[in-house]
Amino acid sequence: MNSVAASVVVVGAGLGGLRTAESLRAAGFEGAITVVGDEPSMPYSRPPLSKEALSAGVQVAELEFRRKPSVADVNWQFGSPVISSDLAARTLTLADGTQLAFDGLVIASGIRPRRLPIPGPEAGRYVLRTSHDAIGLRNYLAPGRSAVIMGAGFIGCEVAATARGLGCEVHVVAIDEQPMIRPLGAELGRGLRERHEHHGVDFHLGRTVQEFLGGDHITSVLLDDGTELPASVVVEAVGSVCNVEWLEGNGLDLTDGVLVDQGMVVDFEVPIVAVGDVARHPNSLFGNIPRRIEHWNMPTETGRRAGVSLAALLRGEQPDQGPFSAMPAFWSDQYHHKIQSFGMPGIATSSQLVEGSADEACIFEYSDDTGLVGIVGVDRTAELAPYRKQLLER
């Protein structure tokens, strides 16, 4: 051990950053930990922002994660994001000009919503990632208002369901042929579309938005086929972009997030790990091909591993080289329906209905040429456990 305790900086105050800090402490790291976040909040749960919290009104304090007593001495710095880094020199530069030195670095900077370059007024355009986004959007969701949702993935569909529940007229515009087709396939996508249509959502599939119309504020949306949809508010839910610009110029592989090994360690001359949505990591359950997985439990799983690895590196030891095998999991609420997923249905090449029907409670299996890769249930949460076990044993 060094006589002077090492220090760790965590870039990103979300779930991944929190779990890594807790894991560092659990692994015996006793040095200073500083977490830098650009939002003015302690780590909080984002999934409710498109669901119950959007519906009921966002109280960010109620969404905060419980923090273990071991991280009570962590220094949280909010409001000034990291804008650049010199990793070999072990220094970070914040937007306000402050420089931060570190011995070990945790990259937990996450993702942000993708914005499309569409002409027209800015006012009335929303994305949904932060509590701030959700609070702003919530002001527009009221009976008689019209919401146009761009993108038919999970966030788009959840917002559509929430907006309908709040009495809005809702249009969903997406290039895909069915909602949620990439993660769930066409058959279940169709079944879920019909549920939305039953609740009064209008889909405009195979379409793109050409222009936003209005004066200072959006009043309508023009589609590529000439259709004009009335719009009090537009929600852009068309995928995400990794927050890696601050890492440029250091020679890291930033092709799609930050490439790490099975210990979440970045291949670099100083101790650096990456976790959560921004980490492209191998998973031995799925052929060890490095992938980013934006699923609920991955910040926790990658954070636990990364903390142990970084603590070892800071002791001058080799981190555990054992495989990383975590079962990805996420869920979605749309109306009274619960969709639950295990594994990686999004990488499958085929899907098969194994219980129920796509229009009712059901379970689908997802496979690629290596076999079963994912399982999704709709309103069948309690029956999924044996399928998840099958996936673990694949």
Partner: protein, 62 residues
């Protein structure tokens, strides 16, 4: 002993906790969460993991 409390007003019965400690948390045939309120101290790590992964942060471990 470790005491477990689940805030059933928050719990949405997602069952994530069941996979961290399946002898403590389970969904019954109606999909409702059932759990053991007190476990041996040796189970603390698993029960804390279950609390960590709860999407609604409904589980308290003391």
């Amino acid at each position: 002993m470790v005491t477990i409390t689940v805030d059933m007003d928050k719990c949405q019965h997602y069952g994530q906790c069941c996979f961290e400690a399946d002898d403590v948390f389970a969904l019954n045939d109606d999909g409702q969460l059932e759990y053991v309120k007190e476990v041996d101290g040796s189970r603390r790590a698993d029960v804390e993991s279950a609390a960590d992964v709860c999407p609604m942060q409904a589980i308290t471990v003391e």
